[in-house]
């Protein structure tokens, strides 16, 4: 509960800070408030509490997920210094909205009651619709926001319908109540439960952009300002998978045989669509959008093979994925600022294609290294955290004996290397613009931290194990 309070207060405080003429304070204030929220998060460490009439639960797992989400938000905000110079932007409101959206994410992570889940999903989503459209003068940003909002609102309806059906079957909104009902499937369960679960899953899988509910993702990620794309593709995904994991492992473990095939098929579909389509992209940002879809596929394997290792697998994978993604988007922001995009992406947006990265590593070794490490991590090459993420995920599926799913995942991993390496090839092996890109100190710190985390966890994955 403490981070929820801290984040809500921070959001309001940041909005008030926006009345000031000077914007200099905003960024450090937002970072400081996030650190406070992060500290507050760990205040309950090793203890389990129920808050708000048993609607929210904090335990070590929820605190670790919350820490990943808040840490990602911290890195994203640290990379948002461009707003200070841009007269048209409204950083106070952006930061305020980010804080409120994080409240939603924390609720999604810790919910004990479907109502709390719904409130969390909505708080996070509505904030995302606004941030997607925050580049007011850009037609594509507006279009993306509208698309996202219409489709998101529609799936929200499905989500709510699903909850209602589950309530009809079980007579309870609480996870424990539902778990008690599903614990004994031999007794014959109401069909409403299955229909409800299906709709609930559709609602949540839309948020994490799993195929076949992924169609909004490329356009929205492409149209949104890059900094918010980074936020969306990490925080929303981590919170979404935390919620799915909690829902399935606590409440619906009894009907595993009903949903695992569905999730496994969707995981395979997501992997194939995400990876194969990413190969055909020329715009880096659009490639990252499809790559984010493909990573939803890997995470879905961890859910479809729900078992003793799943928790660790999903936590580790989310962390590795978030760090690598933010660092990649950070480099993209710098490249986009100083080598303006010339070409239209297939979404009709001006976007930096791979050629804009040509020769980057010669002029800016740090940017080259940061991008390389994150691409290797996303591709799952050893020495990076991404490898162990894949390793844990694959382990869960091996334990369940879902070999066919693994074969798809292995094939798609090989495809993934192809498009992730296009950036590395452009940066190291092609000649490009000769002027180097100016990198502000904050950017340097964030990128170095991302490299350190990725390689640190890649060499010593055991560092995380004591956490939960």
């Amino acid at each position: 509960m403490l981070p929820i309070v801290a984040l809500s207060v921070s959001g309001i405080a940041l909005l008030f800070l926006g009345f000031q003429k000077s914007r200099v304070l905003l960024l450090p204030a937002a970072l400081l408030l996030l650190v406070i929220a992060l500290a507050a998060n760990f205040y309950d460490w090793n203890k389990t509490y129920l808050y708000f009439n048993n609607m929210l639960r904090t335990d070590n797992l929820s605190m670790v997920f919350t820490a990943i989400v808040l840490g990602s938000a911290f890195m994203v905000i640290a990379l948002s210094s461009q707003f200070i110079e841009d007269e048209e932007s409204q950083p106070a409101e952006y930061y305020g909205i980010i804080m409120f959206s994080l409240v939603g994410a924390v609720m999604m992570i810790g919910f004990e009651n479907l109502i709390m889940l719904f409130v969390g999903v909505e708080a996070l989503s509505i904030a995302m619709y606004v941030l997607t459209g925050s580049d007011k003068r850009n037609l594509r940003s507006n279009e993306a926001a509208l698309k996202y909002f219409l489709m998101g609102a529609f799936t929200t309806g499905i989500l709510l319908f699903g909850m209602a059906l589950i309530y009809g079957a079980t007579g309870s909104f609480t996870l424990a109540g539902i778990a008690a009902y599903t614990a004994n499937p031999q007794a014959g369960l109401s069909l409403l439960l299955y229909a409800g679960l299906l709709m609930l899953l559709i609602g949540l899988l839309f948020k994490v952009s799993a195929a076949p509910f992924h169609f909004w993702t490329p356009d929205v990620y492409d149209g949104a300002p890059t900094i918010f794309t980074a936020f969306m593709s990490t925080v929303v995904k981590t919170a979404g998978f935390a919620a799915l994991f909690k829902l399935l492992s606590v409440s619906f473990n009894g009907v595993y045989s009903f949903w695992w095939v569905m999730l496994a098929v969707m995981a395979a579909l997501t992997l194939v669509i995400g990876n194969v389509t990413a190969v055909y992209q020329n715009s880096f940002k659009r490639m990252m959008a499809y790559s984010s879809i493909s990573h939803a596929g890997y995470l879905l394997i961890g859910l479809a093979a729900l078992g003793a290792q799943s928790e660790q697998a999903i936590v580790f994978y989310s962390l590795a994925y978030s760090v690598a993604t933010i660092s990649a988007f950070g480099v993209l922001i710098l490249v986009a600022q100083q080598r303006p995009a010339q070409t239209l992406t297939s979404g009709g947006v001006l976007g930096n294609n791979f050629d804009d990265f040509n020769g980057l590593a010669r002029q800016n070794p740090l940017l080259g290294l940061a991008m390389t490490v994150s691409m290797l991590s996303l591709a799952g090459i050893p020495l990076t955290a991404g490898f162990w993420g894949k390793f844990y995920i694959f382990s869960t599926a091996v334990e369940r004996g879902q070999i066919w799913l693994l074969v798809v995942a292995v094939l798609m991993s090989a495809v993934g290397i192809y498009y992730y390496f296009r950036v590395i090839i452009a940066m190291y092996f092609r000649d490009g613009a000769t002027e180097s890109i100016r990198v502000s100190p904050v950017y340097q710190y964030v990128l170095v931290a991302a490299i350190a985390i990725t390689i640190g966890l890649g060499v010593a994955p055991g560092l995380l194990q004591g956490l939960f």
Partner: protein, 491 residues
């Protein structure tokens, strides 16, 4: 003395060289590699020739999963560790007449590569092996793609994707084996020794066999998984080619001996013949293509493909001689192929061509090069008293014991090998001098210094192979005995 030093010393040296960005990174790298060689020699001298694993290290890596950071050297690793130790200083020394841009990164990557390869050869935990096996790809990829020829980008990407794809199946195999191990303190274990103890069903052994085989067959490469190899060897800068052909492909052969034979003996019994036939097809296929090559580097690449096929066939023959032959031939082939690629590089750097029809008449001005080239070449064609003879003889003996006809087919390697190697020598060194070769100068001091140790190794291994065979023999005998008893007990 501890194996950990062998792994971490090159890493530290690589980091220092990369960060120092000094003018003298070449010399610094050479010194580091020589110190590493000194460690290796000390270990080889102290090594007790028995079947045990020595100089061990063992730390918790992912404690909650029972995955350990553990390694050591036994009779099967020792020659490969020795090869890694000898090869890298020679490879660095061979670059002394060249200047590479961003030299500090170049040499740092070579040393980093050495650490990863030694890590793979000494790992005693399945996941540590996999980790090192894959990590070695990163430096070699950057070496080949940053300093390579015109087509390097496409070629190296193919190489990278191909190898990773194969080894991901090996990862699945390891994870599967991991879950078969009994629980100790609430978790499974991933020690290779524990994998040896498993009682796997014949069905599981079949798919595990193929999962491992594809990974190692791509790495070596064995027919029909070799299509990445010639282009990658040709496009890579010569030091990277030497690393690839001299040391890295041995990871594949090593994997066959360390994992496939003892872990899935029933799989080998069922599918080993298929594997041998593929390997023998590769021997003949590679030789025939090598005979028709005009580019020296490409010719050596195909000869390497042919030679490694014989090693794979020898391992799958499951005989003591075949296994011994594979181990000593790995060292011999490493020595020879480094020498051959160096000759090609010297000729290219002086004439700007590797095309055989543009060369000729080099012997006139180059007594030293001629002699060294001839000795290395004789080693490659397995003339008695050279290193190649011992290895190939043992390997062919092993394959022949396994099956006469297959042994006969594999024997073509010696005839074909003599044909393409001598043809290369004749076309490049003899005959009238061409415009490109008439001003050919003989070896410089640093170049000679590379050849002298190679030539010593060629004769040492050829005349007194006992030095090396006795290091590996107890481990091989033990392994064969182990495989024999497991197959009987599983039946």
């Amino acid at each position: 003395m501890n194996t950990l030093i062998l792994i971490f010393f090159p890493v530290v040296a690589a980091l220092l060289i990369a960060l120092a960005k000094g003018q003298r990174s070449r010399e610094a790298a050479l010194i580091a590699a020589l110190i590493e060689l000194a460690f290796v020699v000390v270990i080889c001298v102290q090594f007790r020739p028995d079947a045990s694993s020595q100089f061990d290290f063992d730390y918790a890596w992912i404690g909650s999963l029972g995955i350990r950071f553990s390694g050591g050297i036994d009779g099967i690793s020792i020659l490969l560790v020795l090869l890694s130790g000898i090869a890298v200083p020679l490879i660095i020394l061979s670059t002394f007449n060249r200047t590479y841009s961003r030299a500090s990164q170049f040499y740092a990557l070579i040393l980093f590569m050495q650490a990863a390869m030694i890590g793979a050869f000494t790992a005693r935990d399945g996941f540590l092996f996999y980790f090192s096996f894959e990590v070695a790809l990163i430096p070699i990829y950057f070496l080949a793609a940053m300093w390579g020829g015109e087509n390097r980008v496409a070629v190296t990407l193919k190489f990278f994707v191909y190898t990773i794809f194969g080894s991901l199946f090996m990862l699945l195999a390891f994870v599967y084996l991991y879950y078969q191990t009994p629980l100790v303190d609430g978790h499974h274990t991933s020690a290779i020794a524990d994998f040896y103890q498993l009682n796997l069903t014949p069905e599981a052994q079949t798919w595990l066999f193929w999962a491992f085989f594809v990974a190692f067959a791509i790495k070596m490469p064995v027919f029909p998984f070799h299509t990445w190899q010639p282009d990658t060897y040709v496009e890579s800068p010569t030091p990277a080619t030497m690393l690839l052909a001299g040391v890295m492909l041995k990871m594949g052969v090593y994997g066959l001996i360390r994992f496939i034979l003892p872990i899935v003996p029933l799989g080998v019994e069922t599918w080993g013949k298929t594997a041998i036939i593929l390997a023998v097809i590769g021997i003949i296929w590679g030789s025939i293509i090598a005979i028709r090559q005009r580019d020296m580097k490409r010719l050596i690449a195909y000869s390497s493909f042919s030679h490694v096929g014989l090693m794979a066939a020898g391992v799958f023959s499951q005989t003591e001689t075949g296994m011994q032959g594979a181990l000593i031939q790995m060292l011999a082939h490493g020595v020879n192929v480094i020498g051959m690629f160096f000759v090609a590089d010297i000729i290219f750097s002086r004439t700007q061509t590797r095309q055989l029809d543009q060369l000729g008449g080099i012997t006139r001005n180059t007594p030293k090069l001629t002699v060294y080239f001839m000795i290395i070449l004789l080693g490659s064609v397995a003339l008695p008293l050279t290193n190649g003879f011992i290895g190939e003889f043992l390997l062919l003996h092993g394959v022949y014991t396994y099956n006469n006809y297959i042994g006969l087919a594999a024997g073509f390697t010696i005839i074909f090998g003599a044909v393409y190697m001598l043809r290369m020598f004749q076309k490049s060194m003899f005959g009238p001098a061409t415009a490109r070769t008439k001003n050919f100068t003989d070896l410089t001091l640093s170049e000679s210094l590379v050849f002298v140790p190679l030539v010593i190794m060629v004769f040492w291994m050829g005349i007194y192979p006992q030095t090396f065979l006795k290091l590996t023999e107890p481990a091989v005998v033990n392994l064969m005995k182990y495989i024999g008893t497991t197959v009987v007990s599983l039946k």
